[in-house]
Amino acid sequence: MKKTILGFSVIVFGLLFTSCQKDDYIPETPSLTDINEIKNAIEASPWIFKNSAVVYSPDAVETGPTEPCKDDDLYTFQLNGNAEVVYGPNNCGFYSAEINGKYASWELDPNGQTLKMVYSRDMPGGYLAGDVIVWRVDYITTKKLVIKRLVTEPGKSYTLVDTYKRN
């Protein structure tokens, strides 16, 4: 019996130590920091909306792969400050109207850390004409843009994380 208890104790302590893994994430491409580089990266070419995650806490996240029908929708942040969308032939079906063209104006703060969007018409995702939405630029390269914002609603608050990519 003593041997059994000793054996289990050894296993438990062994597991306690082996369970601690290192988070060894190093991004392949570091996020841009220069305001001009950030601006150029945003404007360079159309983005494809890849994902939206709702983060209530690190252990309460709503996320997953985006519907393939969104893979052919192109979002452009133009030099003149207009944000435009061109929907592809695959219609997701649950939007009342997928209208191409300008949907908002955009503006970067001088540090390139926040992206302000002023919506000029209603858009999927619950954005209404006149909404002013300020995003924090969390990660940006020429291939990937991750923006975040804190949303506070009656009874709950969460962080919304949107990801755009380009090939």
Binding site: S19, P58, D59, P65, V161
Partner: protein, 251 residues
């Protein structure tokens, strides 16, 4: 005549000795399904106690009725009447409180294979330990929707206590499930961003576990089963869960 009478007397004596009546004995079986006392019941207070006079041990025992499973009257059995005290080996053979069982859902989340035993080898109730394992392939997503698969080994370890008698037991257990995970791909974001598909929670390194439920153990057969509430307790969450177990008694 004298000779005849002498022979007859000797014959009668031999016959009487040969025909010595084998008297049935009382047997008292205790709730632990292991202990059996054999002798003559000499006193009984209904619903309170029974006194048994043991022939071989030459003593008298008073047993509380609540500890008694059943009482019978049987002819003596060679295996018990001739052995005064079981050897250590024999006692070990009597122990039947070790089980292997499969659990659906339960302390390892989805399923597990387990081994369970009592610390006291001569009891079916009381303190015990359950240990097991489970292997899963889990798909996770980060906040950008990138997929990363994990191979996960879950090791539930739980100290439990069984209340009850005969075959019906109430189980209370407390323990932890240790999780060893191995990434099957490259991180595209910090690892804390990866959450399990549908659950929206990270794969933890360890989960606290509880077990509150019913366990049915065989007295004569081999199959055990049970059902328990088995909540999983994480760092910042508690997942309600239920476990169904079915298993086999090891001889």
């Amino acid at each position: 005549m004298k000779l005849f009478l002498s022979v007859l007397f000797v014959l009668i004596l031999s016959f009487m000795k040969g025909q010595q009546v084998v008297m049935p004995l009382d047997r008292i079986y205790l709730n632990d399904s292991i202990t059996i006392y054999e002798g003559f019941i000499v006193e009984q207070a209904p619903a309170i106690y029974v006194k048994i006079l043991r022939k071989i041990e030459q003593d008298t025992l008073q047993l509380s009725m609540k500890d008694i499973w059943k009482m019978t009257r049987e002819y003596p059995r060679a295996d018990t009447t001739t052995v005064t005290a079981p050897s250590k080996k024999a006692a070990h053979r009597q122990t039947k409180n070790k089980y292997v069982y499969a659990e659906a859902l339960g302390s390892a989340g989805l399923y597990s294979l387990n081994y369970d035993f009592r610390f006291n080898e001569n009891r079916r109730d009381g303190w015990g330990l359950r240990s097991g394992f489970s292997y899963l392939n889990l798909t996770t997503y980060n906040y950008s929707g990138d997929v990363l698969n994990y191979r996960v080994l879950l090791l539930p370890l739980q100290v439990n206590y069984l209340f009850g008698k005969q075959k019906r037991f109430f189980e209370v257990g407390l323990g932890a499930t240790y999780i060893i995970k191995s990434r099957q791909g490259t991180l595209m974001a910090p690892e804390y961003e990866y959450t399990i598909k549908y659950l929206g929670r990270r794969i933890p390194n360890v989960l606290g576990t509880m077990s509150l439920g019913y366990r049915r153990l065989p007295v004569k057969g081999k199959i055990m089963w049970g059902i328990s509430a088995t909540p999983l307790i994480g760092n910042s969450f508690t997942l309600p869960n239920i476990g169904f177990k079915i298993g086999y008694k090891l001889s």
